[in-house]
């Protein structure tokens, strides 16, 4: 078995699962002020993902670590070339984490208002930047043997912005659905109706993204070669349409599940299109970082494969167990009674 391909698949899966799980936290974070009319509403939204957001974020750390271990050259160049956007993203993630913890530690309305805005901003910035970064990776970074020739401004090209908007819209929809599923009463109904409203602009951005991708990237080349791969984008589109249909049928839980599939499908579409590149070069195809020229040695890949196949299933098992423990809706009574709640 070609371990490079195994790690390419794992790399894609780690990113996909990360966006699926942290996506609803980022979305709910962006929306919690809009959805929550009162302080209690906002606390309910934050507590709806309170027990799980930290574990969800670890998928990002693992995706980063796996890139470092399996494709060190990609890790080194991706992180140094995208220095400023990654820095802003990092600041976003740092602020978000402490905001959840700090927000309810003072009764003052000013204090809580400040952390509310910190949550909104620190959820929006990473969502947007992930999209911009991946859009630019899909399109290829301006690099050759001499190094990187891009800049922060160059990353904000139209395709990068469309990708950024796509990620923001996907997560907004995902977050609204999550809140609808995890809360009760008015709050839940507001989230559900917002999810319906948001679906339209999401569709518009998704169509724009799919169309633009044809001109801005070479992602579709792989699909031309092996049309069977089209199952990924088709799944994404079907799940996106399904989200709206299920919402219409009043089944928010199933709509949320469909939204999960949409996100996995979108990430899968991008990753499959990249193969065998991890980061294509837009200047010189020979300078592209592929799963072969940027990877670790065979020995390291073997060790890491052993570790991944032993421990990732264990992680998945206890994560499923945790979601079961915290299943059910979060209510005002529960938040008020729980002194440990955010």
């Amino acid at each position: 078995m070609d371990l490079h391909i195994v790690w390419f698949v794992l790399w894609g899966v780690l990113w996909g699962v990360y966006f699926m799980l942290d996506g609803f936290v980022l979305g709910a974070g962006m929306l919690h002020r809009v959805l929550g009319k009162t302080d209690m509403d906002r606390r309910i939204v934050i507590n709806s993902f309170g027990p799980v957001w930290d574990g969800n974020e670890v998928w990002l750390v693992t995706a980063g670590g796996a890139t470092f271990a399996a494709f060190p050259t990609t890790y080194a160049l991706m992180f140094s070339y995208l220095y400023t956007p990654l820095l802003l993203l990092l600041f976003g993630l740092i602020v978000r984490g402490v905001s959840f913890e700090f927000r309810s530690k003072e009764e003052s309305a000013t204090w809580r208002g400040c952390w509310d805005w910190a949550i909104v901003l620190s959820s929006f910035v990473p969502a947007l930047l992930f999209g911009v970064a991946f859009g630019n990776i899909f399109a290829g970074l301006p690099m050759d043997q001499a190094g990187y020739h891009g800049s922060l401004i160059a990353l904000l090209n139209p395709y990068g912005i469309v990708s950024g908007l796509l990620f923001v819209m996907l997560f907004l929809e995902h977050g609204a659905l999550y809140v609808a599923v995890k809360t009760v009463g008015d709050l839940s109904r507001r989230a559900e109706s917002l999810a319906r409203t948001l679906w339209v602009p999401l569709l518009v951005v998704a169509v724009a993204f799919l169309g633009y991708t044809n001109f801005a990237t070479k992602l579709y080349d792989n699909y031309m070669k092996a049309p069977v791969l089209l199952v990924a984008p088709l799944l994404a589109v079907a799940a996106l349409v399904g989200t709206r249909l299920l919402l219409g049928a009043g089944n928010t839980l199933a709509a949320f599940a469909a939204s999960c599939v949409t996100i996995l499908g979108v990430v899968g579409t991008g990753v499959i299109g990249l193969f065998p590149n991890l980061i294509p070069s837009s200047m010189d195809a020979l300078s592209s970082l592929t799963i072969y020229n940027s990877s670790s040695s065979e020995y390291t890949l073997q060790i890491m494969t052993g570790v991944a196949f032993t421990f990732v299933p264990v992680v998945i098992l206890y994560k499923i167990w945790v979601y079961r423990v915290f299943r059910g809706r979060v209510t005002a009574e529960a938040v008020a009674a729980d002194h440990e709640a955010y």
């Binding site: 309170g50 027990p51 799980v52 930290d54 574990g55 974020e57 670890v58 990002l60 750390v61 693992t62 980063g64 670590g65 796996a66 470092f68 271990a69 060190p72 050259t73 890790y75 080194a76 160049l77 991706m78 992180f79 140094s80 070339y81 220095y83 990654l86 820095l87 990092l90 993630l93 740092i94 602020v95 984490g97 402490v98 959840f100 913890e101 700090f102 309810s104 530690k105 009764e107 190094g147 990187y148 670790s296 040695s297 020995y299 390291t300 890491m304 570790v307 421990f311 990732v312 992680v315 206890y318 945790v322 423990v325 915290f326 938040v335 008020a336 729980d338 002194h339 440990e340 709640a341």
Partner: protein, 447 residues
């Protein structure tokens, strides 16, 4: 100032800031787990209140430890791309393993513990804090194995223009990493022991919740004494290993300029880097240094001057940090022994001055931890990987000054602000008694 210097400064600042929160997390997770275990075993409600009170402080501290940890992972690629590329084949593995086996467990079960009081059984709730403690310590193990490899590279060959792993077992049994891990873990326990003793002492001085804080104090005193003794014992082995594997660092730690046999240890010394000698040396104990390093009073200690000038670490900061760390370590053993004695004999409240002293001592183990990292990291210079790669060769090539200045300013401002808020909150909740520490509910304490 250049990209290299700024990147080093940024790495130092972000690392040291991260490390304000890590040691307490390491130790307090274990202490809180012990408290909750006592609650489960005895059914005594006081231990439940203890778990909740110290647990709240644990969570406030934990939050910043976690979020600043992500910075560390990102920074290798962002600022040290050449390093990451050169050693990623071997250095990336422990980081990825840390995320997979430790970080997941830690962050999932901290959620269960913080939010699961009514969702899981009493027993399992206690198990979940033990899993957090285990994962936190396991996380430290993998990070220090990674750092240990930078300090004393093993199990690799230089091939295809980089360091490639050939022996994973060598990496995970690297004595340097394991000793450093041992030394660090118990240092974290010392921080937690003194933290709990200090906060308890504050409340005992105010004569509030006396039974509660006496019991907390008693547990912490045992914990701190055992931990601080182990810090010394493992630290001693660690230093002996450094003498073998990193002679230049060892020479700087002790300010030995010229190689000599039967090296004495000077109780008082002060290095003069310019003239490559010591300004003062007094009170020598003959042969002690040779003995400590090689368990042989006649063994040779290599002096700093025996290394080429461009392979010497800065002597003064390493020497001073090491002396101060050892001095503080000794003080911790004495203080915690006295604390345990007074606590066992019910004499604590008879000595308010001692209690006041313990409140003031809360920051000292933190300082000792930071000093230890200065010895370790500054002492490794100019190498980023000892003997293989210079720090100056590891820095990213694609960065320009404005990027690093921007990030350095950003980190300093953001970390400064968050650190201030976090310490404010820690102090606020530490000052409140166990009955008042709940926010968001106006009613009195409920179980």
């Amino acid at each position: 100032m250049d990209v290299l210097t700024l990147s080093r400064l940024q790495f130092a600042i972000t690392c040291m800031f991260h490390f304000i929160f890590v040691p307490l997390t390491l130790g307090l997770s274990v202490l809180v787990a012990m408290m909750e275990t006592r609650y489960v075993l005895t059914g005594n409600e006081m231990y439940k209140r203890m778990t909740k009170f110290w647990g709240k402080l644990f969570l406030i501290n934990f939050a910043l430890g976690v979020v600043t940890g992500i910075t560390m992972e990102f920074q290798f690629g962002m600022n040290w791309a050449e390093y990451s590329r050169y050693v990623g084949d071997i250095f990336g593995a422990p980081l990825a393993i840390e995320a997979t086996v430790a970080f997941f467990m830690e962050s999932v079960f901290i959620g269960v513990w913080a939010f699961g009081w009514d969702k899981v059984s009493k027993r399992f709730h206690a198990v979940s804090i033990w899993l957090v403690a285990l994962a936190t310590n396991l996380s430290g193990l993998w990070i220090l194995l990674a750092n240990g490899w930078m300090q004393h590279p093993v199990g690799y060959v230089l091939r295809n223009g980089r360091a490639e792993m050939v022996d994973f077992m060598a990496l995970i049994t690297n004595p340097f990493g394991l000793l450093k891990f041992g030394h660090q873990i118990v240092s974290g326990y010392t921080v937690a022991g003194f933290f709990v003793m200090g906060v308890s002492a504050y409340h005992l001085l105010k004569a509030r919740n006396r039974d509660f804080f006496k019991a907390s104090f008693g547990m912490a005193a045992v914990f701190a004494l055992v931990a601080s003794i182990m810090v010394g014992v493992i630290g001693d082995f660690h230093a002996a290993d450094v003498a073998k594997t990193q002679p230049a660092k060892f020479a700087a730690m002790e300010a030995v300029w010229n190689s000599c046999n039967n090296a004495p240890m000077h109780l008082i010394a002060f290095p003069d880097e310019k003239n490559e000698c010591n300004l003062v040396t007094a009170l020598p104990v003959p042969g002690l240094l040779s003995f400590l390093a090689f368990h042989d009073t006649n063994a040779q200690i290599r002096g700093i001057t025996s290394f080429p000038k461009d392979e010497r670490p800065p002597v003064l900061p390493v020497f001073l940090s090491f002396r101060l760390m050892v001095g503080l370590g000794t003080l911790f053993i004495l203080l915690s022994a006295a604390a345990l004695f007074l606590s066992k004999n019910g004499l604590l409240e008879k000595y308010p001055l001692f209690l006041k002293l313990l409140v003031l001592c809360i920051p000292l183990p933190y300082i000792a931890n930071q000093l230890g990292w200065v010895v370790s990291e500054v002492g490794r210079q100019p190498w980023i990987v000892y003997g293989i790669m210079k720090t100056s060769d590891g820095v990213s090539k694609s960065l320009d000054m404005s990027q690093v200045i921007g990030s350095l300013l950003g980190f300093t401002l953001l970390y400064g602000l968050l650190g201030f808020v976090d310490i404010y909150l820690l102090a606020k909740f530490a000052r409140k008694g166990p009955e008042e520490s709940h926010v968001g509910a106006s009613n009195a304490f409920r179980n």
